[in-house]
Every structure is written in C-alpha cells, then in structure tokens.
C-alpha cells in the first residue's frame, strides 16, 4: 500500500540507481530528488541515459540496483496492476509524439479516456475539446497524425498526456528539432500546464537555454551520476568545471573532444598494443 504522501515531500526519489544495457553502464550510482509541483529538468550530454531515466521512472525498464520511488511507491516492486494504476497518474510526452497513426487527432486524445473510463460520448467530446483547446489545436481535431508538423504532433501528444489529469508529466527532449516559434509555443505550454494543473513536470533535455529558463530545479547528469543539482541561477553561480563546460557549451574540457581510445600516434603508426587478457 502506498504510504500517505506529504505535500512537500519530493514527487520522485531516486537512490543509488544502477542500470546497464549490455556491457554499457548507463547509471552507476544515480541519486536525485524531484520536487513536487515544480518543473525539473534533467540535463546531460547525448547518450547520458536521459530517456532511459524516464523509462525507469515509468517502470518500462527495471533497474539493476538502487530504488526509484514515485509518490512513495517503489516502481520496480509494483505488481502490474499497481504499476498501471500509477501510470494512469503519469503522462509522458515522447520526443516523436508517438501518436497512434491509425487514429485522428481527436481519437488520439480520446484514446486514454476511452480505454480507462466509461464516459458518455458527449462528455468525452467536451473533455477532448478542452484538452485540444489548451494546446491550441481544437480546430485540427479531424486531421491525421501524418499530416501534422513535428511541433503540432508534440502538442497533440501533450493534450493526450494530460487527458487523464495526471499529477506528473514527463517530457522526453521536448525542444529538439523545433523552429523558434514552435519552440516558444512548447515552452509556454509546458510552463502553463505546470501552473494551471498544479502538476510535477520532469523534462530531459540538452537545450540549455530553454531548459534553464523554464525550470525551477535542474539536475545535471554525466557518467551515470548526478553531478550537480539546484535552482538554475545557483547552478550557474557555482558550477563545477564539468557543469560550466556543459552549460556554456565549450567543445573541450572535462568532457574530452576525442572519443577515448588508443593514442593518435600509435594508431597512425599502426602499432596496436595488445592488452593482456
């Protein structure tokens, strides 16, 4: 049974998370707290496992070690039924939108409602139109997902993610590949959704400017650990070498420009050291 959760307790707690994919260690010892009712961005370089983190929080992947609590419930230990119950209170926005291609925009937003509720058709219609209006796409309801631009698809996906009025919404790279206008729309929507619905928002992103502007709380991850966390301004003020390199986008520094490997000289000369087995 989920313990009663205090208003000010963190929404998500991650402790000593370990996760590997094949031989690649994605998370070595990751710990973080995601405060309730705020916008938190998890930032890190590409390939640092940001999307994997969202999947672990959503229970789609199981950690190899450590624990993740969402709303006081340990995700990896939930039965399928409870996990699904927890997911009804989570929305997730995929980078691609992940709209169901055989359904119209309207039906995509109606999908979670039809699956999980028994609402009469006219109530359902009102709800879907409300959600679509919130993302500015009420009049696009009859379109086919294939005919939407990337930004529109993401907005429809947002409408779908908030269809069941979740308390937590996760955004996977919401700013990637958008033009400035659409970017502005998405930034506004994320902020507005967070405020008007009073939910906890978790973003993973590597777009520093937008993410810093939108967030109440930022966590930087690298090499499978959380290297820094705090309010955006604090983070800027006391950034470590690594964080400074990341936040300012310097090409070389603690994160080397070159992919690690044999020395350049030996490589060019064709001398390969055989490592002892």
């Amino acid at each position: 049974m989920a313990e009663p959760v205090a208003e000010d307790s963190p929404h998500i707690v991650i402790e000593n998370l370990r996760f590997r994919r094949g031989r690649k260690v994605v998370f070595e010892d990751l710990s973080m707290r995601i405060p309730r009712g705020q916008v938190t961005t998890v930032m890190g370089p590409s390939g640092s496992g940001k999307t994997t983190l969202l999947r672990l929080i959503g229970g789609q992947l199981r950690p190899d070690g450590g624990r993740i609590w969402v709303d006081g419930q340990e995700v990896a230990r939930l039965s399928t039924r409870r996990l699904y119950a927890l997911r009804k209170r989570m929305g997730m926005l995929f980078q691609s939108g992940a709209l169901l291609t055989d359904l119209s925009v309207f039906e995509n937003v109606a999908f979670p409602l039809r699956e999980h509720t028994d609402l009469p058709e006219d109530v359902l219609r009102t709800l879907v139109l409300l959600k679509l209006e919130a993302v500015g796409l009420r009049s696009a309801r009859d379109l086919d997902p294939a005919s939407l631009s990337g930004g529109m698809a993401r907005r429809v996906a947002l409408a779908r993610a908030i269809a069941l009025d979740p308390d937590l919404i996760m955004y996977d790279e919401p700013f990637t590949g958008l033009d400035p206008i659409t970017m502005g729309q998405i930034v506004t929507l994320i902020r507005r959704t967070n405020q008007s619905l009073g939910l906890t928002s978790v973003l993973v992103s590597h777009d520093v400017t937008e993410a810093m502007a939108i967030s109440d709380h930022v966590v930087l991850i690298a090499d499978g650990r959380a290297v820094d966390a705090g309010a955006p301004d604090d983070l800027r003020a006391r950034a470590s070498d690594w964080s400074a390199q990341f936040l300012e986008g310097r090409p070389d520094g603690p994160v080397p420009f070159h992919y690690p490997g044999d020395g350049y000289r030996e490589d060019l000369l064709g001398v390969r050291e055989r490592r002892d087995d």
Binding site: R87, A98, T101, F111
Partner: protein, 260 residues
Amino acid sequence: MIDAIASLGRSSLNALVVFGRAFLFLLQVLASLDIVIRRFGLTVVQIYSVGVRSLLIIIVSGLFVGMVLGYQGYITLVNFGAAEALGGVVALSLVRELGPVVTALLFAGRAGSALTAELGLMKTTEQLSAMEMMAVNPYRRIFAPRFVAGFLSMPLLAAIFSAVGVMGGYIVGVGMLGVDSGAYFSQMQSVTDWNEDVLSGVIKSIVFGFVVTWIAVFQGFNAMPTSEGISRATTQTVVVSSLAILGLDFILTGLMFGAG
C-alpha cells in the same frame, strides 16, 4: 576451427533465445485473450484488415489453382477413360492439401507481412511504448486481437479458397473440356469424406493460421526499431512462415493419413 565451433554455438544460443522469447510472448498473448470477448470490436477491425482484405488474392488464386487442377486432372484421367472422376480429384487435392497450404502461404505473404510491418513500425515510432505509459497493455489492446483475427480468418480463407477452386475446376472441366456436370459433383460427393478429408484440411488450416499469425505478430514485436530492422522482420515473417507451413504440412499429413 575453435572460432567456427564458437560461432555455431553462438548462433544456436541466439536461435534458442529467440524461440524462448517467442514462446513467452505467445504465453503473454494467450493470457490476454479475455479482451477478445470483452471488446470484440477490436478483433472485428483486425478480422477486416487481415481477413477481408486478403479475400481478393485468395479468391483469384483459388480460381486459377482450381482451373489448373481441372486441366491437369483431365489430361491424366482422360487417358484412363476416367474423366468423370475429375470432380473428386479436384476437390480432394484442394480440401486436403492445396486449400490449407496455398492459402497459408498467401496469407503469410499478404496478411503476415502486413502485420509484422505494422507492429514493427508501431514499435519504432514508440506507439507501443506510449500505450504502455498510458497504462494500456499492448498485449491486450494490440497483440491479442490481431492474433485472434489471424487465427480465425485463416480457416475461413482456406475454405473459400477450396470452394472457389472447385468452381475453377468446374469451369475448365465441365465448361471447356466437356466433363458431365452431374458426374463432376456426384464423384466429388462420393470420394470426399467429411472427417477424413474436409476436417483434416480444416485442422491444417487452423494450425497454419495459428503459426503464421504467431510468427508475424512476434516478428513485429521483436523487430529492431530501425527501418532495416522492420524490413528484416517482414522478410523473416514470410520466409519462416512459409518453411513452417511446409514442414508442418508434412508432419500433419503424416499424422492424419500415415497411420490410416
């Protein structure tokens, strides 16, 4: 030498892993079958897409196969003065073998590959993941209805194939080569046994339907989420299904008619 043995071992292990996954996948799908009764509408949509949409190719193929049988049968039988037996030859070949086998091969090519590509693309575009995150179980919402639809459609398509084939044989045998119309059907009726011939054909088509749909849905589920992965999975569906159909046909025929 050691390398060759190691790679043989590795590929055998990989094959076993795939078998294991396919079996677990099947169990999961079977455990989700209650959705088919609770929301039959989902299955009806799939029956339309895998069954009804395969009708044209099945009818046209059945017609031509029946017509060829009519020709070939007549040419052989007329030498023995037994051209009247044509109806029986055509019907037996169709209900016992060609109906289930050719239908299953066509079904694998038409509906199986479409299922794999659809599911593979749903996986690649994260639709299945999104569904899971919306607390909708894709085994129930997506896989189970498709599985049942394929499994139900196959025997019906095989029956239609055989029926159309019989008419194709009739068109050639009776219409063009002058076999007596009454003899065509009475011969058919006297040599075709319900249990021995028709039912065994139905059982075959049920087995083929099960196997082809299983392979197709699993390949879609198991596809690498890339365009190359989908292309490979679709090819695999057709190749593996076709081999499975032919292999199983041999075994089933042996079981049904061998001991006789």
